[in-house]
Structure formats: C-alpha cells, structure tokens
C-alpha cells in the first residue's frame, strides 16, 4: 500500500508538471498577448507604448526563463500579479474558489442524490412505465443545452415570482446563499443526474443478473436489502468513477452556468483571463484545476478499495 501511494504521488507530480508545460506553451502559442488586448480596447496601437508594456511584464524574456520564473515562484506560494487588474493573482483567484466549490458541491449532491436512487429504481423496475419515464427524463437531461435550460429557468422564475436567482452581490446570510446557488446547481445537477442515473441503471442491470443476487433472494433477503446492499454496492463502483470525473469537471467547467446565472466563479474568470491573455491567472488557475482533478481521481481510486474489498493495490 505504501509503495502504491508513493507511486501515485509521483505520478500526480509528473502529471502536474506535464500540465504546467502544456498550459504555458499553449498560452504563448495563442495569438496576441495582454499588450495586444489592452491596445485593442483603446482602439489603437502605439508600438513604443506596447513595447514598454511587454518589457514591463517580462514577456520579451526567453520562454524558458519565463517558465522557470513562474514555477519557481509557484513553489514558494507566489502566484504573481494579474496583468489586467495589477493585483496579486492569489487575491483574484482565492475568493472565486469557494463560489465555484459551493456550486459544484451542490450540483454534485443533486446529481448523486437524484441520479443514484432513480438509476436503481429504473433498473429494478426495468421495462415498466416508470422505467420508460425515467429514461426519457434522463435523455432530456443529457440533450438539453445547459445555457438554454438555464435561461428557461430564469424566464420561468421571472414569470412566476417576478424575480430571478442571479448573483448581483455577495449573499448576506446562509439562506440567501442557499437560495442563490440552489437553482443553478439544480440546472447543472439535472444534466449530471441524468448521466449518473443512466450509468447506475446499466450497472445495476448487470449486477442484478449475477448469481449472488439470486442466492441472496433465495436466502430470503428483503428486496430492498438485495437492491441497495448487495447489488448497489457492486454497481456503484463504475458510477464512482463517473462521479469523480463529474466532480473534477464541475469545479472548473461551469462556464455556461456561471454566465447565465452571473456567478463570479472560477470558470467564468478563467475564460475571461484567457481572453485577456492574463498569463498569471490562467496558468495558476489551470494548475489549481489540475490539482483538483488528480486529487479527486486519486480519492476515487482509494474509494474503490472501500467499496470493493477485493480491490487491493499490489505491492
């Protein structure tokens, strides 16, 4: 187990190193830099003024120097300064993480709390009217574009309540926070729950056909115990992988939801930072997301051992 953990840790570090190289180079390959964007906003280009900005920000240094500077500073906890806001990058990024984390967490909760039980129900009642209805609902969840669904929800909220649940200022209380995040989380969760529901259903159907399930029934175990204790525990292993992938995606991939509901989260900020070629923000935010992804994947792998004792990672 210890050697497994060490190997995984080294692999994570290698992955993060690879991500750092890729994001660093990709950003420089994309046409234009912050100086270009700033002058575009001003509707003019003065070559000498532009050159001064490029030098001031160190963008004319050799690439390897810029990379080493960034990585060296990152190792010391210095995320640099945003080219656009001229504030420390940490000051810009840090407040947005809890915002996206809340949204992602609630969305994940929705998707698991709704997707898993409905998936079980759909499998257990295979080919019944309920199964058909649930499958149609899950298909619609997968096929509806989230921006469209989000706007529909806002329009419905306006028509029904005369108000829309969008972020215009920091919520003042816990309940305000819940109210603010509940609707966008439900919109995102609807799609994720559809995916998890379908996966749970197909995994359950496979497990329900196994001999040990028949044995459990013949031993007189209640149906609920058969479904939720014996079957689900095995069926949920592949679903766990998907939940892990979804969780990783949610933390940095909710650009559409954040835009429609005007939530100042990580995803929207990242897209804006890319638009502005704000390298310190983009590089560090991508690294943060990469850390989340590799960590979640690692935790999912560890969870397998809990869910299925047969799984052990060899010495």
């Amino acid at each position: 187990m210890a050697s497994y953990l060490i190997r995984r840790l080294l692999l994570m570090l290698l992955t993060l190193f690879g991500v750092s190289i890729i994001i660093f180079l990709l950003l420089r390959l994309v046409p234009g830099n912050i100086a270009d964007i700033l002058f575009d906003q001003a509707g003019m280009v003065d070559p000498s003024e532009k050159a001064a900005i490029v030098t001031e920000l160190g963008l004319d240094r050799p690439l390897h120097e810029q990379y080493l500077q960034w990585i060296g500073d990152l190792m010391q906890g210095d995320l640099g300064t945003s080219y656009l806001s001229e504030k420390p990058a940490l000051e810009e990024i840090a407040p947005r993480i809890p915002i996206s984390a809340r949204l992602a967490g609630l969305a994940l909760l929705f998707s698991v709390v709704i997707g898993v039980p409905l998936g079980v129900l759909s499998a257990v009642r295979q080919n019944s009217m309920l199964d058909y209805v649930l499958r149609i609902v899950s298909l619609s969840g997968l096929s509806m574009p989230s921006f469209w669904l989000g706007l529909l929800v806002l329009m419905a909220a306006l028509a029904l309540f005369g108000n829309i649940p969008i972020y215009t200022s920091e919520p003042a209380s816990f309940w305000q926070t819940v109210a603010l995040y509940l609707v966008p989380a439900a919109v995102v969760g609807f799609r994720s729950s559809a995916l998890i529901m379908r996966l749970t259903r197909s995994s359950m159907l496979e497990v329900l056909r196994q001999d040990y399930i028949r044995t459990a029934r013949s031993k007189g175990a209640p149906e609920s115990s058969v479904n939720f204790v014996h079957a689900l525990r095995n069926a949920v292993v592949p679903v766990t992988t998907t939940i892990g992938v979804e969780a990783a995606f949610l933390i940095g991939g909710l650009i559409v939801t954040e835009t429609v509901f005007n939530i100042p989260g990580v995803a929207r900020f990242l897209v804006e930072a890319i638009r502005w070629r704000d390298y310190p923000i983009v590089q560090n935010l991508v690294m943060f997301i990469a850390v989340v992804v590799v960590t979640v994947n690692f935790l999912v792998d560890l969870l397998y051992m809990v869910l299925d004792p047969r799984i052990r990672y060899a010495e």
Binding site: L38, F39, G43, M44, P47, E49, I166, F269
Partner: protein, 531 residues
Amino acid sequence: MKLVRPAALLISAALAVGGAGEAHAQKRGGILRSFLPDNPPSASIHEESTISVAMPFSALYNNLVFFDHTKKRDAFDTIIPELATSWKWSEDNTRLTFQLREGVKWHDGKPFTSADVKCTWDMLAGKTEAKLRKNPRKSWYRNLKEVTTNGPTEVTFVLGRPQPSLLMMLAGAFSPVYPCHVPAAQMRTKPIGTGPFKFVSFKQNEGIKLTRNPDYWKKGEPYLDGIEWTMIPSRSTAILAFVSGQVDLTYTNTLTAPLLRDVKQQSPDAVCAMEASNVQNTLVVNREVAPFDDPDIRRAMMLAIDRKAFVNSIFDGEAIIGGSMLPPPAGQWGMPAEKLSDVPGYGDDVEKARAEGRKLMEAHGYGPDKPLKVKVSTRNHPAYRDPAVLLIDHLKNVYIDGELDLLDTSVWYARMVRKEYQVGLNTSGIGIDDPDVNFYENFACGSERNYTRYCNPEMDKLFDQQSAMTDMKQRKELVWKIDKMLQMDGARPVIAHTRGGTCWHPYVKGVDIPINGIYNHWRFDDVWMDK
C-alpha cells in the same frame, strides 16, 4: 461664433453651483444599480477608449468643463463649467484661459489646483516623467504647445493656432482632470477624482462600487448614496435582471430595436430611448496592397454597397446613413445623406451603381468567371461579423469573391496597424461629435487610430484649416466639403451610423441620453431615485 460670452458663463456657473430651484423635488438616498457587459480594462479614463470605462468611472471625476446632460445634443452651446468657473479666449484665439473653482478637494482630501490641470495635460502630451501606459487621444492635442499656470486658480492652454474645438475636447468624458500626486498606475486600479462619487471597489469580472462623495463641491449633490455596476456578460441575463427590477438602468446603447421592444413588452413602465451612438460601421481597405492600390477597384467596392440593406437587415432600421460626421438631426456637423448622393454607394439606384462597379472591374479583367478573390477580415464578434457577412454578399455583385476572415480581438488592431489585411469591416466610436476629434483621430497622417494609414497631406491642411475657423457657418461648409472628399476618396467609407437603446425604470430620475454620442453624460451628480 463668439468665443467669449462672459454673461452666459456667469449664469451657467451660478446654475451649476446652485440649482436651488430644482433641489426640492429630488429625493436623497439609494444605490443605483446598473450592469456592464464587458470587463473594463482599467479605471483610468485617460488610458481607455471604451464606453465600458467612461460610463461607470465618469462619476469619479470632473473636467474643466462638461456637456450639460440635460441638453439632448453635445455641442458648443451646451458646455457648462465644472472645475473651471469661467473661460476666455485671447484676442488671437490661441490662448484659452480658465479660472478655476476654489475649495475643491480630491477624494483623499488634498486640494485641487491649477498644477493638477497642467500635469494632466503635460502627461497627455508625453512631457512628464509619469507616463500613461496607453495614450489613445494624443492626436487630440497635437496643436497644444503648452499649459501654463498663473497661481493656483488660473490655467492657460497655449495653442499653436486657433482651435475652437479644444473646448469641445475638454468637455468630453475622456478629458477628466487627474491629480498630480497620484501615480498613473494607481489611477488604473484605485482612482482618485474630484467627482460626485468616490471609488470603493473594482473587482474584475464582478463589479464596480462607488459611494457618494460627501465633500462634493456642488452643494446638495449627488443625491444617490452610491452606484453599483455588476458585470453581466450574458445580454439575456442582463435584460431579465432589468425586467425583474434587480437593475435600475441598462448599460447604454446595449439594446437593439427588437430587444428594446422586448423590454417594453415585459416592463411597460420602463423609460427607454433609442438614439444615435456616434459609432460607425466602416469599410477599411488596405491601399498599399494590390489591387486595392487601384482607385478603380476601391470605387467598385464602394459602388457595391447597398447601405439601406445594412440599415434594414443588420440594424433593423435603427441606423443612419451619412458621411464620416454624424448626420442631422442627431449630429451637428454631418451633412444629410442626400448631399452624398453623387458619392459612390450613396445613390438610390443600387443596381445602376453596381452596374458601374461591374464595368470598372471588367475593365481590369475581372468578371463572373474570374472574380477577384479577397479576404474580408473582421473581429470575431457579432457587431462586426454580421455586417461583414452582408458586405461579402454585396461585393459579389461587382465580381469580388470575399472570404470571411474572423480574427481574434487580440490581433485585430495589430493586424490593421501592420497592414496585414486586404479588406476589413470595423466599428469605431467617435468620442465627441466634433470634426477635429473625428478627422485627427481617424484620417490625419500618423494618427494611431488611422487604421488604414490613409495619408493625404492636402487633406491634413484642410483639417487644420477647418480646425482654426471661428465662424461656425463657414467651418461647417468646409467640414462638409472635407467629409465629401473623404467619402469620394474612399478613405474609410462609412456604411452606417448605429443607434442603440437604453432603458431605465421610471423611478430613476435625471438620466438623459444624448442624441449624438454615448460617452459624455454619465456624471450621475443629479440622478436620483423616486422610491
């Protein structure tokens, strides 16, 4: 035009400071909420050119003079005092002296003096150690020799030759006075002004907060406790926010005609205005690249354009056809479209014009089986992309086969400056409805915003000639002549002047949308809310 009107100035100064007769109706308090669709690049008005900076941040500053926002049109006769209480031209009209208001303080409590005026304009002229990171309006002040002070309350702008439009430039939103004691870099992130509102916070991608300046020199103002701007990039969400009452005032000029109708349908009480923005869609042609160095080819392109089709299909009827100056009744310097009827592409008979265009192309060996292939470049943004698509369709009528070349925002101006394009479609705003601003920025040799690098020394002389004229009637005639020459020369053919809508809830009072520009009415000092 008489440049010295002391009686009028004194009356204006009294009204600007007092306004006692109006004070009883206004209610105090409340936070005005609006939205911005774009992240402002910085809070420093002198370094920027977009309305996303002028609209939220004008409330922090004062100019020497400003346009009276209660008047519909920004013009010479609507200029009122701000930090200057009066002004006077010298006999030879080359020196403009301002008497400055006493007792004005910067938001950090330091006193405002003539030194602040001097160092602002010295910085704009590049004469100081302190440099702006960007200086988009350097070309405005090419005639400014120096700024001198005579004590703390008098400042003089010394010009190389008469230039009445200097006053117009100083009255525009992009000409606030900056504090000498605050570095230019700080003005981008934590600006200090003398204006009715003080800076609280500017969070990128989130919002801007301003709070009432209790020490504002205009006693009794502002009425609002503060202003909050929320970044809402999704236009649908922003409009829903307005309709639901979470936003009191829309971003200016943001509503197309269909959207404005939609807003009025959902919020019938909303007060809306659809006005000319002084933003133009223009055709840009690289004159240094064959075959566009041939005036016949450029003429053929101009003959292909059906401006009415643009107005109707792209702008839903809400656009104005004219030359480079905004035409009347919105603009004060532009000529009516019928005066341009003999300019290629402006006549009513589109087919006749296109037939002429085809003949020109055929004379150069092009035809239906041998079209001229060209890349039509533009920014990858709907406001640019959609007209570019229509332009390509029109060019087909004169055997020009255009391919849409969408460029990322970051490379658009850089490409134009490096002349790495053939034909393009651009959208640009004119900060002030004034020929000096337009001609010197967009057509004068060497101007950074002269994207096509059009350079005609004879035209430059005409720009200087009209700029120095003090007789407005004669000046207007010359401006018309210049405008027509620019259009005939295809310098930067204007396809249409756009119009845009702004809405606010009926309890918001004191908002006035000008008819000839979008930048200059956002001081918010006498805006109040009746709720």
